[in-house]
């Protein structure tokens, strides 16, 4: 459990790439942690825990997708397999660098801007709720959130490039 706690944050990032919303991420991680507990004796080295755990999360996420086969508001299993394959090589170090870049970029926003970005990411329909609370159309508020997320994306990419230049220089 100590290992799971240490890597939970990165496992959540991985699970999010495969699941349509955060409640589904929470459910899958809970199921995956139970499986990990049962199969812990199969883990040979502690340092291999992260990749081993990701394989279990992947399996549980795809199982959850099959359970929700009738739900058309999720990506297909074929697409999720492709995403899972291509997400797997990302290491914990890679994630930490991206995390630091994003944190730096969030620091450039005002408090109000951060709150709007956070509210949109914290739960599905967050933008709709904001729109109702502010008497604006969801579409117009969504566009504002979209611009901020795009700006964060661009900023984070620039930060990562700068980090790489610094580390190589």
């Amino acid at each position: 459990m100590r290992l799971f706690v240490r890597h939970e944050r990165d496992l959540r990032v991985f699970a999010r790439t495969l699941l349509p919303n955060w409640p589904a991420v929470d459910d899958v991680l809970q199921e995956a942690s139970v499986v990990m507990w049962k199969k812990l004796d199969q883990l040979e080295k502690e340092e291999e825990f992260y990749f081993w755990a990701r394989t279990i999360v992947r399996y549980e996420a795809l199982r959850a997708r099959r359970d929700a086969a009738r739900d058309r508001l999720v990506l297909s299993e074929e697409t999720l397999e492709l995403l899972a394959n291509e997400a797997m090589p990302t290491t914990a170090d890679d994630l930490e660098q991206e995390r630091a870049a994003l944190k730096c970029c969030l620091g450039k926003l005002t408090d109000e801007q951060r709150e709007l970005v956070f509210a949109a990411s914290m739960r599905d329909g967050g933008v709709k709720e904001l729109a109702e609370a502010t008497n604006r159309t969801a579409n117009s508020l969504y566009k504002l959130v979209g611009r901020l997320r795009a700006a964060l994306r661009d900023c984070a990419q620039r930060e990562l490039k700068n980090q790489k230049k610094t580390s190589h220089g």
Binding site: R12, V13, R16, T17, P20, N21, R72, L73, L75, S76, T79, L82, L83, E86, A87, T90, L95, E98, R99, L102, L106, K108, T110, D111, E112, Q113, R114, E115, L116, V117, F118, A119, A120, S121, M122, R123, D124, G125, G126, V127, E129, L130, A133, T134, N135, R136, T137, N139, Y142, L144, V145, G146, R147, L148, R149, A150, A151, L152, R153, A156
Partner: protein
Amino acid sequence: MDKPKDNEELIDRYLTGMADEAEIALLDERLKSDEQLRQTYLAASRLDSFIREQAEQPEIAMKGKVNHRRHNFRFSWFTPAAVAGLLIGLFSASIVWAYAIPRGAEITRTSLPIVSQDFEDPAMQLKSSLPDRADQWFGRLVSVSPTAGVSPVMGSRVGRLSPVTGNRSESARYIIDLHDHPEPAPGHVRSLQVAGYFSAPFPGQEPKFRVELAAFSEAPSDVRQAWKEQRESGEEALQVVLRNYLPKSDNLAEWHEVSASLEIPEGTRSVVISLGVFRLDPDQPATDFYLDAIDVQLVDTYEPST
């Protein structure tokens, strides 16, 4: 609902729970066939996770008034007055990173690109009528690979506008709905700046290129009717700016940049952008002309203290 303009918007809509069934099916199809898009999706998904992690930090949650654990969003600061302030702040931030330009010691100018059109979609199909909705082009305009020795300004395709013989002018039009954008802060002067490239490579005409910007108090859905009534009654829209450009007859085929700027008057809801050609002799057989690299920006100028 407006259709997402690009893949990144589609991904954002999915990750924020805004996408409908058709959009998710479209995203799914594109992800299956496009490895680069899958990388974009994975990066956007990680960004979403990192934002959530930051939102869950206790000090930030308190500062930002978002309490994830109880799923209890506090919108107390979203009073009507605060909404304006928030939106102004948002607008400022998204532009300050790249576009804040000090003008001398006193005036600052900020620009927010809101439309960029290179006519790269070969399947583009437009209504030829006057516009009645925002965020889409209207007119006798199609996406083509240019001929007559013309190279696109951007990308590999251009817009081809086809005038009708007998008509003096022909335009492509687009409505900006100002309700989709944050209001300017007090003391800020808001303008709309439009620039585009025109070329008339085919023989038989000496047109004027024209950029026209017209401000209306009506919503986009009512602009068409307002436009007609305006013509019948002779009344002006709230404000109109017309920029004509007469290229020299020996370089019609070259690209000519034509731009115009409209200071948006109070009470404006919609601004109609018209990019077109004015034919000096409408009875001459009409020939096509090209448009490319259309750029539209909202520009605020203000003294730094405001």
